[in-house]
């Protein structure tokens, strides 16, 4: 599952980058920041990226996952810090779905 999620994250970033100028491309590295001072993204960009990731999850895994739910917003450490933390959060949510 980890490999699948890594790939769908890369695909989501590629889809997100397709509409962006060459100097605004998001690196698909796990350390890429999504929020905070050092990110390239404004709030609407983050919305677009999350939508792209959710759609990749649905298209590749046939699972509808809402990432920006109340739980994500109430975590002491936001799952949207970096691409890597988002990936970990997705894996965690998917494993919980498997557990029932």
């Amino acid at each position: 599952m980890e490999e699948k999620v890594e790939k769908l994250m890369r695909d989501a970033v590629a889809e997100f980058n397709a509409d962006r100028p060459s100097d605004q491309q998001l690196n698909d590295d796990t350390l890429t920041p999504l929020i905070g001072k050092s990110t390239l993204l404004d709030s609407l960009d983050l919305v677009r990226l999350i939508v792209a990731v959710e759609e990749q999850i649905q298209d590749t895994l046939d699972i509808r996952l809402t990432l920006a739910d109340e739980r994500a917003m109430s975590e002491s450490s936001s799952p949207f810090r970096t691409l890597g933390s988002l990936q970990d959060y997705i894996l965690q949510r998917l494993s919980e779905q498997d557990d029932g």
Binding site: L44, R48, Q58, R64
Partner: protein
């Protein structure tokens, strides 16, 4: 010839939704309609059964639109229910059902449509309100309140979706002779019409005219607007 538009009409089995679906199918657009009960299909028109508040079913509908058409150009968020009753006599279940269908249903379809529209550079969302909201009609506390929520939803979604090229507007029809007003006493309808600047029942063509305007490519700057019929 321009490519046909892909238009989704909720509550398309009867009344205004049915007229709008037939209007756009007749123009050659690809129209998908939905309602809780089945309806006849015709050229350029496909019908699906669902409850507009069922998130899973609505998600599946949009997945199907995505795989079949790859896009959606316009959402006509017409599905709605009403129950005219004094507030003191309105059952809580009725109040919840009206808010669910009219507010949650409208929000859910707008959210899913916008997700698809943003990928294609934009689209048009048309919501439905009512003259009962600005007229603060007695006997329609929950229905008019639900549509007040739809109006604010329209204005805020217009702002949130504006950068994505998606316009969000609402039409507020004055009384039209449909099932929605079937149980309203004639004198009540007449007193409502007497409060309008144009004192007659609206026809579906009056509604189509406004929706056509919102859907036109030239209306890209028209968003967050609520247009009432009849001059209230």
């Amino acid at each position: 010839m321009a490519e046909p538009r892909v238009i989704l009409v909720t509550g398309a089995r009867k009344g205004i939704g049915n007229s709008l679906a037939r209007h756009y199918a007749g123009l050659g657009d690809r129209v998908i309609g939905c309602s809780r009960k089945p309806a006849d299909e015709y050229e350029n028109y496909r019908h699906l059964c669902l409850d507009v508040c069922d998130e899973t079913a609505v998600g599946e509908l949009f997945s199907e639109i995505k795989s079949t058409h790859g896009r959606i150009d316009a959402l006509i968020n017409n599905a709605g229910i009403a129950a005219m009753n004094h507030a003191l006599l309105t059952p809580l279940d009725t109040a919840r059902r009206i808010l669910d269908t009219n507010v949650i249903g409208t929000f859910l379809f707008a959210r899913e449509a916008a997700r698809l529209m943003m990928k294609n550079g934009g689209g048009r969302i048309v919501n439905f309100t009512t003259v009962a909201t600005p007229l603060r009609l007695e006997g329609e506390a929950i229905y008019a309140s639900s549509k007040a929520a739809v109006e604010n939803l329209t204005r805020i979604l217009a702002r949130e979706f504006g950068e994505m090229g998606i316009t969000v507007n609402a039409i507020g029809p004055s009384p039209v002779r449909t099932d929605l007003v079937r149980n309203v006493p004639e004198e009540k309808l007449q007193s409502l019409i007497d409060r309008q600047a144009v004192k007659r029942f609206a026809e579906t063509a009056d509604i189509t005219n406004v929706v056509d305007f919102f859907l036109r490519p030239e209306s890209a700057m028209i968003t967050g607007q609520v247009v009432y019929l009849g001059g209230v």
